[in-house]
């Protein structure tokens, strides 16, 4: 069951080529710190459906999503699953080394992550105090995801929850389209969205259809919605 990674770790050729660096990750590191971190970092491909972290297993690395997306989930005693969040490029997981992960992070599509072993990060912080904190300063961690989730679940109507969710994904991975529109990819299955929002699949589908009908969604397909540009700034 511990088949976590689907390819042999490869050293990144250079952090200079990193797609997410410009967004946020590592942006607060000095050139010397970046050089240090780069030495200890490995880049991994994670195939769709494979976990980068598995619940109950040890983890000794900090991960940052470079491309793709992940679903965070916890298993309950009776075998049922709770979807607790989604990771998008620039998001971190494994903020602390642990002997037993509290959740799993599975790739929703073929994805790329950078792994920083905590051991090396701790060594690096001898010379550069606070390097780990600065590394993750602009990214979102699993703790932010829990915060997002409680805000979403506290919303009182299905419509509010769905709109907040779309806004959340929009902020992370929304893409500008022409004429004041944003395209918001939804790489996760509908059932994951429903479970995450505390809605039944039927309610989610009905709500999305209603939002499309009254024009608040310009377009709605299985893995994408198109919203007004300003929709991404609302909560």
């Amino acid at each position: 069951m511990s088949e976590k990674l689907c390819s042999v770790p490869t050293r990144a050729r250079s952090c200079d080529l990193c797609e997410v660096r410009e967004r946020s990750v590592c942006a607060d590191l000095s050139p010397r710190e970046l050089a240090q971190v780069e030495k200890t970092m490995a880049r991994r491909h994670v195939a769709r459906g494979k976990p980068v972290m598995a619940e109950g297993e040890p983890n000794d690395s900090l991960f940052v999503v470079v491309s793709g997306s992940f679903r965070l989930s916890k298993l309950l005693e009776d075998g049922r699953r709770q979807v607790t969040g989604f990771l998008f490029p620039g998001d971190f997981a494994g903020v602390r080394a642990t002997r037993s992960n509290a959740y799993s992070a599975e790739a929703l599509e073929d994805s790329l992550v950078c792994c920083f072993p905590h051991r090396f990060l701790d060594d690096a912080s001898v010379q550069s105090p606070g390097v780990k904190d600065r590394l993750i300063a602009r990214g979102q961690t699993e703790y932010h995801k829990a915060q997002d989730h409680i805000v979403l679940l506290g919303k009182k109507t299905a419509e509010e929850r769905v709109l907040s969710f779309i806004a959340l994904v929009n902020r992370a991975i929304g893409i500008d389209e022409s004429a004041g529109k944003r395209r918001v990819p939804l790489p996760m299955p509908r059932q994951d969205v429903a479970d995450y929002l505390g809605l039944r699949l039927e309610t989610l589908s009905r709500t999305l259809t209603a939002l499309k009908r009254d024009g608040r969604l310009y377009d709605l397909t299985r893995h994408e919605v198109v919203v007004a540009s300003e929709a991404g700034t609302a909560n």
């Binding site: 005693e77 009182k156 109507t157 429903a194 479970d195 039944r200």
Partner: protein, 451 residues
């Protein structure tokens, strides 16, 4: 049953669906206490929800539930609207925390309500707490009230577990308890459930009812087995006419005596086991592939207000009159009367009137009793650490007596119930209970017989 066990048949014992039992609830627990516990529920804490529907079309004379006969559906609509408000009140306290993992509709008669009203209650729960497709929905049904497409509509709403109050198939017994329902009626309900894809059909049977004989009950059991429910609960009828006036309609002389009660319970046990059911706890039976059997096999069986369950939730949130909630070591019970309940809801207040805060020591006893009832064994070392030396001595004496009579084996720190004595589990549980109240005057009348 061994002759030396017969004296236990005369004991009265709590049902231990909670510990401390509801008998110990008082007004020390307020709605503010309950609100504080709700606010402390964690984000992903599994919760079990219970919705009480107190209405019935007719009065069954054996019933011990909080119910009223109601002929005006408008009054039921008023109740549903109050329930939805209560759900919103609790939802506001939880503010998105807690995940419902199961919802149980009990009564009274939940299917006194039409499917539209039940859908409305589920909608309120989905808005306020979140409701996902893997949440297990269960409902108790009176077969006499099932209308044309009720079963299909309930299955469409997601109810995957339906439980029928069968009690007894014998016509003489049915007349003596004022619950006359034909075998055909139950059979057609079961086939509608199967047709609608319901995979967890449960029957309630009662022994100790007036006019029951070994022959009549054997026939009931055979007809039950022919319908092949996925699980059964076989409860002993508790005759408490002093507390429940409706039970005075039952003629005392028609009740089976205590020895016949034991024989009826044993008969049910033997016939159901022979038919391939697994015994779950001491009064539930389930097919080997039923989730309840799997939970028992995996050591996940628990006991809650509905009896034995595979529900993993530590917390139960009850809605409606007299519903009991249990959140993080606090029991809270709602107003029993409809008017008082409506008044609280109208004022925007949680309708809690009483309860109990479980102490650390009580929690240890509660876990030991749960382990004893669910798995047939309990750790005595933990109990002795949690009680006073005087209480420990009392518990020791009682356990030694049970051991001398062969009901239990007590080796090291482990008390184990003899497999043949499982029907007397509640007597053993009582030995671990420092609040054991059988000799306290006044309260004994509120307890049912142990078997």
């Amino acid at each position: 049953m061994k002759p030396e066990w017969r004296k236990y048949l005369f004991q009265r014992a709590p049902r231990y669906t909670s510990y401390p039992a509801a008998l110990h609830f008082d007004a020390c627990v307020t709605r503010e206490d309950y609100a504080n516990r709700l606010a402390a529920v964690e984000l992903y804490e599994p919760m079990s929800l219970y919705v009480h529907v107190p209405f019935c079309k007719r009065l069954c004379w054996y019933c011990g539930c909080n119910m009223r006969v109601e002929n005006d559906y408008g009054r039921a609509l008023r109740y549903v609207s109050a329930l939805e408000k209560e759900i919103a009140l609790v939802g506001r306290k939880l503010a998105g925390a807690g995940r419902p993992r199961s919802i149980h509709f009990g009564g009274g008669t939940p299917n006194y309500l039409l499917a539209d009203e039940i859908a409305g209650i589920l909608h309120a729960i989905e808005q306020e707490f979140g409701l996902t497709d893997d949440c297990r929905l269960a409902i108790e049904l009176d077969p006499r009230l099932i209308r044309d497409d009720d079963v299909a509509r309930l299955a469409g709403l997601g109810f995957s577990r339906m439980s029928l109050g069968v009690q007894d198939f014998d016509s003489a017994v049915q007349h003596a308890i004022n619950r006359v329902q034909s075998y055909d009626m139950v059979e057609s309900a079961v086939s509608e459930m199967r047709a609608a894809g319901v995979t967890d059909i449960s029957f309630d049977l009662l022994y100790g009812l007036p006019r029951q004989t070994m022959d009549s009950f054997e026939a009931t059991l055979e007809r039950t087995i022919a319908l092949s429910p996925d699980r059964l609960a076989v409860f002993g009828y508790a005759h408490l006419p002093a507390r429940l006036p409706r039970q005075r309609m039952i003629d005392r002389v028609e009740l089976p005596d205590v020895l016949l009660r034991a024989d009826l319970a044993t008969l049910a046990d033997e016939k159901l086991i022979a038919a391939g059911y697994r015994r779950i706890g001491f009064d539930h039976y389930a097919k080997p592939d039923n989730p309840l059997s799997i939970a028992a096999r995996d050591g996940r069986l628990r006991r809650n207000f509905q009896g034995f369950t595979d529900d993993i939730s530590e917390s139960t949130i009850g809605f409606g009159v007299s519903a009991i909630s249990s959140v993080n070591g606090l029991f809270a019970q709602n107003e029993k009367g409809l008017n008082a309940y409506y008044d609280a809801i109208a004022a925007g207040l949680l309708p809690v009137v009483k309860g109990i805060e479980v102490t650390g020591g009580e929690m240890v006893i509660a876990n030991a009793i749960q382990s004893l009832l669910c798995r047939g064994e309990a750790d005595t070392a933990a109990i002795f650490r949690a009680v006073t030396p005087g209480e420990a001595q009392g518990i020791c004496c009682k356990l030694e007596a049970l051991e001398a009579d062969g009901l239990i084996a007590w080796t090291g720190d482990l008390v184990k119930i003899d497999e043949e004595a499982r029907l007397l589990s509640r007597c053993v549980a009582m030995a671990l209970d420092p609040y054991e109240i059988s000799d306290r005057a006044g309260m004994a009348g509120a307890l049912a017989q142990a078997v």
